[in-house]
């Protein structure tokens, strides 16, 4: 790939769908002066005959990059990658430009006019392809034990499975004997005492197996490293930190249950929590008579109620088995389905366990010895008798351990306290093997059996990684690369990375360059767009490539045309859906699909304006819940806001750039956005091309590259809905004004630099060129001289002569 690029361009006729609308011979003609090794038009490159022809061209011309002018890249790229794999073409070497859905199907206009647009889009693709870099995945070692953290019960199942397959593990647990674990079990899994026999066997096996090392739980000081090589720092009682190394991490977190508040029921000893009942069961202190389990509290959600109903059913079974004189009954809400089998129901009948549902719309009323409820079958109110009334526990917050781990691992709390590994959802082939294993009921209420299965599954995942490593196939895919020479270790990327792909560093280790764990990286790219020193790049999807693409496209655009960035999810899908639905929109917008709007470096926006584009529109997913990269679209919002501020500082219209949000299936909204923005821009003149405006645009672009600006921008990246502000900012207006001050200062500094690039000038001359008062720029000149960004070349008429460069 380091060898020169040999690009093959394959234009698709799509059976007339493209060739009838776009004059393809003219597209070829317009691309004549671009550098490529092959250019051809094919009826259907995507079908077997077309792929055959492509393979022949690749071999005949030694092509190493393929550009297709066809339809949707999302849908068709896999087909081409598969079809061209036999001749050594890899995924990243193929680029598909969507001529059908971005040009042919959605625009009115003559085939010649559309050919110009098609050629511009292809020229952009060519410029980007030329900058491809070699892709060499890094082989990873996978040595050491598996670290099982979090105190969850699933950890034991994982440890046993690992031990069976001869893999060492270290399990951190609060309870250090099997008996202690069982005694604590009902706090996290009430009603699961029925399984205790099997659990005891499992636990004994784990505690005695030489491959499993059970260590007392200690506070986590840090977790650093990546798959194959994790380092876990544990705080010792004496304050020192002990480090344990491992190849993989299994996080096993369970949700604890707390006793429900029973004060409003009263009843003393006769009314109890399910947790208390379990204690009584252990002590064998259960009073004979009618035991009524009342599954109440719908506020904890249906899953919790289902869980409680199952727990009640199991406890009833235990009760009758041990005390035949007890008559249990489970009263559960009608909207909950009990997942009981026919055999279960037969057993219930045999033991006289009542299972009764109640209408949730009419709240049951507790009386002394009775509970009245409305049956959903006959709509009559019935009374259930009780001697002991049992209500389920309340699902509590995940244990305190959680907070320690969340600090270091990409696990996030969702609404309702549920933990999730990440809500990022991708195409499976965008992500490598799963390498972070999260199990336990903290991820969603479930019963013991299921949790143990999760543990087993996690262990199998780890074993899969080990197997891959043994065969030498465990490779890091290299998505994100941090340039160690440029990185200053500020840690901004780690802070904002949503997927945990940028590794943490030990606390107190100072500014050290960051490492990446590409097994976790989602390729969202907001880290690269944030880095103040531009040290991060997303391999083969770099800012430089996007810059080249924009430049190439803008060069072929007319003065009233605009650029449109669409994110790969909501934006792109809606844009393509517009074509499928047969909608049309003006052809003045040239679409560039990106993975996420958050990956667009702020300098790309300024660069587009510098190259003379009239306006920019961006279409992304609806913030925040739809953004596939957590906050990518929010991050982009701040970059656009900075661009708007700079435009107005330069005396240009802020409304030249606009962002809109669409969902996957909202083509009409997308078309509306395009029409509205083109309409707005229609009222504006094209970007002035005089020297003064150009100098200002140059200064805007230079400002976007300034580390200070990028740093301030990076630290202000947040969700616009947040009410807390970083640093000393108190409110939204303050925060915004701070940003504006920084931009103004750096913009003026950049303008000064531009003014003195060609010849040394004195302050009045500089000020005159910039249309500013001398006194506004003198403090800045002094400061810039101190910083060494400009020098005093000499003196002239009592004024210093400023110039760029070193003295």
């Amino acid at each position: 790939m380091k060898t020169e690029s040999r690009i093959g361009i394959f234009l698709c006729e799509c059976g007339g769908k493209i060739s009838n609308r776009i004059d393809l011979p003219q597209v070829s003609e317009l691309l004549r002066y671009e550098s490529w090794a092959h250019l051809g038009t094919y009826p259907y490159p995507c079908l077997a005959p077309g792929l055959e022809a492509m393979r022949q061209e690749v071999q005949a011309n030694g092509l190493n990059r393929i550009l297709l002018g066809g339809c949707s890249s999302r849908v068709m790229k896999k087909r081409f990658t598969k079809g061209l794999a036999p001749v050594g073409i890899e995924k990243h070497q193929v680029e598909v430009i969507n001529l059908r859905d971005h040009v042919a199907a959605v625009h009115e206009g003559s085939p010649q006019e559309l050919a110009r647009k098609a050629a511009a889009l292809i020229a952009g693709g060519l410029a980007s392809l030329r900058l491809l870099e070699p892709y060499e995945p890094v082989s990873l070692a996978f040595q050491g034990p598996v670290l099982i953290l979090g105190n969850g019960i699933s950890g034991f199942a994982a440890a046993r499975e690992l031990a069976h397959k001869g893999m060492e593990s270290i399990l951190f647990s609060k309870a250090l004997t099997p008996e202690r674990v069982l005694d604590e079990l009902h706090r996290t899994f009430p009603g699961c005492r029925l399984f205790c026999g099997d659990m005891a066997v499992l636990l004994r096996e784990v505690f005695t197996n030489p491959l499993v090392k059970v260590m007392p739980d200690q506070p986590v000081e840090y977790i650093i490293g990546g798959v194959g090589d994790y380092h876990l720092g544990l705080k010792q009682p004496d304050g020192s930190v002990a480090e344990v190394n491992g190849a993989a991490i299994i996080v096993s977190l369970d949700r604890e249950f707390a006793p429900a508040d029973l004060d409003y029921i009263g009843g003393g000893e006769r009314v109890c929590n399910m947790l208390d009942l379990e204690d009584r069961l252990v002590e064998g202190d259960v009073k004979p008579g009618k035991v009524l389990f009342w599954i109440n509290s719908p506020e904890h959600g249906q899953a919790a109620q289902e869980f409680a109903a199952m727990a009640a059913w199991r406890d009833s079974l235990l009760l009758v088995r041990e005390n035949p004189q007890v008559q249990p009954m489970v009263l559960y809400p009608a909207n909950v389905t009990l997942p009981l089998t026919g055999a279960d129901l037969m057993e219930a009948r045999a033991h006289g366990i009542g299972l009764q549902s109640y209408n949730t719309e009419i709240h049951p009323v507790v009386q002394s010895g009775y509970l009245s409820y409305v049956s959903p079958t006959d709509h009559l109110e019935h009374e259930a008798e009780w001697d002991t009334l049992v209500v389920p526990g309340v699902p509590g917050e995940p244990s305190a351990k959680t907070q320690e781990l969340l600090r270091w691992l990409p696990i996030y709390p969702e609404n309702g306290g549920r933990l999730k590994k990440s809500h990022i959802k991708f195409w499976p082939d965008q992500l490598p093997d799963e390498s972070l294993f999260f199990t336990g009921s903290a991820g969603g209420i479930c019963d013991l059996n299921e949790v143990l299965q999760q543990g087993k599954k996690a262990a199998r995942g780890v074993l899969g990684l080990r197997e891959k490593a043994r065969q030498g196939r465990l490779v890091s895919p290299v998505v994100v690369h941090v340039d160690k020479d440029l990185c200053e270790g500020c840690g901004l990327c780690t802070e904002i990375c949503p997927c945990g792909g940028i590794e943490h560093v030990k606390p107190g280790s100072g500014p050290v360059p960051r490492e990446t764990d590409n097994h976790l990286c989602s390729g969202g790219g907001t880290c690269a767009a944030t880095c103040p020193h531009e040290a991060i790049k997303i391999l083969n999807n770099t800012a430089q490539q996007l810059e080249a693409r924009v430049k190439a496209m803008v060069a072929q655009m007319q003065e009233n045309d605009i650029l449109g960035f669409v994110c790969g999810w909501g934006g792109l899908s809606s844009a393509e859906q517009a074509a499928v639905k047969g909608l049309t929109y003006p052809r003045g917008i040239y679409l560039i699909p990106v993975n996420c709007l958050g990956s667009i470096d702020p300098s790309i926006l300024s660069m587009a304006f510098l190259n003379g584009v009239k306006g920019i529109m961006l279409a992304g997913c609806t913030p925040t819940h739809s953004c596939h990269y957590h906050y990518g679209v929010d991050h982009c919002w701040y970059r656009i806001s900075a661009m708007k501020k700079l435009l107005s500082l330069a005396g240009l219209e802020r409304r030249r750039i606009a962002v809109g949000y669409v969902e996957v299936n909202e083509p009409e909204s997308f078309v509306g956005m395009v029409e509205s923005h083109l309409d707005t821009l229609g009222k504006l003149p094209p970007l002035p091309r005089d020297d003064k405006t150009r100098a200002k645009l140059w200064a805007i672009h230079a400002t976007m590259h300034r580390p200070r600006v990028r740093w301030v921008l990076g630290t202000s990246l947040r969700r616009p809905t947040e009410k807390e502000f970083p640093g000393s900012q108190l409110n939204a207006v303050d925060a915004d004004e701070t940003m504006l001050d920084v931009l103004r200062e750096e913009f003026t500094a950049s303008r000064i630099l531009k003014a003195i690039t060609d010849q040394p000038l004195n302050p009045p001359q500089i000020a005159q060129g910039m249309d500013e008062a001398v006194k506004t720029i003198t403090p800045l000149l002094t400061e810039m001289t101190k910083e060494g960004r400009i020098t005093i070349k000499g003196w002239e008429g009592g004024y210093p002569l400023y110039a760029t460069g070193k003295p």
């Binding site: 059976g15 009826p43 079908l47 005959p49 849908v75 991708f426 499976p428 999810w569 899908s573 996957v664």
Partner: protein, 209 residues
Amino acid sequence: MNAKKAKKEKAKKEKGDGLIRFTINGQSVQAREGWTVLETARQYGIHIPTLCFHPAVHPIGSCRLCVVETRQNNLTRVVASCITPVSEGVEVLTDSEEVQNVRRWVLEMLLANCPASLQIRELAQECGVTSTHFTVEHPEDACPRCGLCVRACDEVVGVRAISLGNRGVFKEVTAPYHQRSTDCIRCGTCLYVCPTGAMEQLFPQVSSE
């Protein structure tokens, strides 16, 4: 066994230049082993209407709209061209009376099955079908149950978030347990490939939240 034998024989025949020669509508065409009749026809610019065919996924021949007549060894068959491999010397007719007849019936059934689909109505119009002999039971239905979305979700995306539920006349595109799929990544591939625009209505019912 028979298929294997036939393949071997075919391989013997092609030893020359690896090309399979046959005719479509009297026009002599050349294809290679593994191509289908539909692919070859498209390569030569011969139009065959399709519905459930998409180059991104494997063809399954479910809509039967791409039917062609093949004549070989005095045997005449009407087959779905998207899943029929090419064979030496076969005579393919894409617009014979027999084909037109089958296609018309298929379109009439589609019109009755998914009357709400604009695309289907346009397709029928192209073939001169404007009304149907069958009873329209669900006038709001636009989905022909061709399974293209299901195949795309499996083969292109790789998540299998949607599937075809039930059987026979009750067949429908749905997510497991009729609940919004948690596997869905909301990429919109199913929307893009849907040939009748039915996915637009179905998407909110099957996609993840």
